[in-house]
């Protein structure tokens, strides 16, 4: 909603400016300028530098949390609608127009549910586990570029940071499984741990392909390197292969079907979150949706150019027309396209068995992505990409 209002404002301002100013003027009205304006205003009105920094960080955190809550509402609704669409049924259609308030109703239900804690459980870890999982998925949001110059933290090793921080979620899952003192939970946690640890390799290797081509680990540089075309188009077949590998491996890494062995209902009741109820259970759900968004955002940034509009080589006129669509629309459009693909996986493929899961990773994906890395290196050295 906020984004929509912002977008409208942008269009309005564009309208006012259009007659007198150039296109470049329009491009300066962006999220980065809004953020800079807020920062400058704070710095002018508050003399203490430390306080300004703290307030900056607080605003960022609150905005991020608010954005994620709205995002999770939307993703939950989207997931149900996509599922209904795939199975030729309506999906939610009772609460609100087209069932759009169904998720709000669910959240209220979860809020009022009693949060049970098993007597035998390890209380400290039991309460800590959902927090760690959510925090781990929140941390990954830091280097994502939502629009031009609009990043929380443009760390110089953004790709490495993302892959390292996303692996923290394993600890949370293992903690949840262990502290429940329930064999189903423990089994689910063990499966999930093995799965995440092994599929991380393929995710890393497929990201490295782009790092080799763009020559930087910094996400803003990677986006900037796609000014004359996205990598999926510039990088030919090897990059398409690594995109497919990334999609498969990251679906496994966020424990979504067909790789949801950690919570295979038929075998393990609900896997590592069997014993959780109420809001703590909702936190696992929240983390799952945040992870889904993060993975898609990474794919959109790395392979599809992030906020970079669709540019074609040196077609200046075409590129200018594309520049009129704001960066965050591009970013969210690409991200939600990939989310849509991953959601369709869930209702397309049957769940893998444990040995099939490990065979797929160690005997197929990993060798393919290693050979692919060599191919990409050769391509980068010989300059065979556009």
């Amino acid at each position: 909603m906020e984004l929509l209002i912002l977008f409208r404002n942008q269009r309005l301002i564009l309208h006012l400016h259009f007659k007198t100013n150039t296109v470049n003027q329009f491009l300066t009205i962006s999220f980065s300028s809004i953020a800079a304006a807020i920062h400058n205003w704070l710095a002018l009105s508050i003399p203490n530098e430390t306080l300004v920094k703290v307030i900056d960080l607080t605003i960022t955190g609150v905005l991020l949390l608010g954005f994620l809550v709205i995002l999770c509402f939307f993703l939950g609704y989207m997931e149900r609608k996509v599922a209904g669409f795939m199975q030729a049924r309506y999906g939610p259609n009772r609460v609100g127009p087209y069932g759009s308030l169904q998720i709000v109703a669910d959240t209220v239900k979860l809020l009022f549910k009693e949060g049970l804690t098993p007597k035998a459980s390890d209380k400290f870890l039991f309460h800590l586990a959902p927090v760690i999982i959510v925090v781990a998925s929140l941390l990954v949001m830091a280097p994502i570029a939502f629009a031009s110059n609009f990043q929380i933290w443009d760390i110089s090793i953004g790709v490495l940071y993302m892959s390292s921080v996303s692996s923290i979620a394993v600890i949370g899952i293992l903690m949840a499984g262990y502290s429940s003192y329930n064999k189903y939970s423990l089994l689910g946690a063990m499966r999930s741990g093995a799965q995440i640890v092994s599929y991380e390799l393929s995710v890393g290797l497929s990201l490295i392909a782009i790092v080799i081509l763009s020559g930087s680990l910094q996400l803003s540089h990677i986006v900037e390197s796609q000014r004359d075309g996205w990598w999926i188009y510039k990088g030919h077949l090897p990059i398409i292969i690594s995109f497919v590998i990334f999609l498969i491996a990251s679906t496994a890494e966020i424990n979504r079907a067909p790789f949801d062995l950690a919570e295979a209902e038929q075998e393990l009741t609900a896997g590592f979150h069997t014993e959780y109820s109420g809001m703590k259970f909702a936190m696992f759900l929240l983390a799952e949706y945040i992870n889904l968004f993060v993975v898609s955002a990474i794919a959109a940034t790395i392979f599809f150019g992030g906020w970079m509009p669709f540019h074609l080589g040196h077609w200046e006129a075409f590129n200018h027309i594309m520049n009129f669509i704001p960066g965050f629309i591009w970013f969210f459009g690409k991200t939600f396209f990939i989310i849509f693909i991953i959601m369709q996986f869930r209702w397309t493929f049957p769940r893998l068995r444990v040995d099939q899961l490990l065979t797929l990773e160690w005997k197929y994906l990993l060798p393919i992505s290693m050979v692919n890395t060599i191919l990409v290196t050769v391509m980068a050295i010989m300059g065979w990409h556009f």
Binding site: I157, L160, I171, Y178
Partner: protein, 175 residues
């Protein structure tokens, strides 16, 4: 107080407190969790010194990989709570003595160490470009040799972990 000073104190208290928690907690799983928190605090220190690569590698290698393995092993071994073995008095005294000696040595070493003030804002030593240049020029030989060492360790683990084929024909192999 500077922003970095506040962060430094928060991280330091966290590091020391969690390190104490590692030693003092009875449950081994809790110890591992405290150890992970300690690593995070130390990574925060690296970040304050603008050594981003070191910080992230610290998280990847220690918190991400080694500690997960630790958790696995402990969970598989110690499913019953309070399975802590009781130790005799002699062992306890010996432990206190050796631990105290190590503590003394560390304390002496840090006390006499040359303390260099790092400029928190402008230092670029820990950034990946500088580190990469150093690794592939000045320290290229040790770097390559250590990578061969890691490869050897990996192959060794596979050799040890490989089962000899004991199954007869027709029997189903259970992975």
């Amino acid at each position: 107080m500077d922003f970095y000073d506040i962060l430094f104190w928060i991280l330091s208290v966290m590091a020391v407190g969690c390190a104490l928690g590692v030693v003092l907690s009875r449950n081994p799983i809790h110890s591992v969790i405290f150890l992970i928190l300690t690593f995070f605090a130390i990574s925060g220190h690296y970040l304050i010194m603008n050594a981003q690569f070191l910080a992230i590698v610290n998280i990847i290698v220690y918190a991400g990989a080694i500690m997960v393995l630790f958790l696995y092993i402990l969970m598989l071994m110690n499913l019953n709570a309070d399975a802590e073995p009781q130790k005799g008095l002699l062992v306890q005294i010996a432990g206190i003595l050796s631990g105290g000696t190590l503590f003394l040595v560390l304390l002496a070493a840090t006390k006499s160490a040359h303390n260099e003030e790092i400029n928190k804002v402008s230092t670029n030593v820990g950034l990946i470009t500088n580190l990469g240049k150093l690794l592939f020029t000045k320290y290229v030989l040790p770097f390559e040799i250590s990578s061969v060492l890691f490869l050897t360790a990996m192959i060794g683990a596979i050799v040890i972990g490989k089962k000899e084929p004991q199954l007869k024909n027709g029997e189903e192999h259970i992975a």
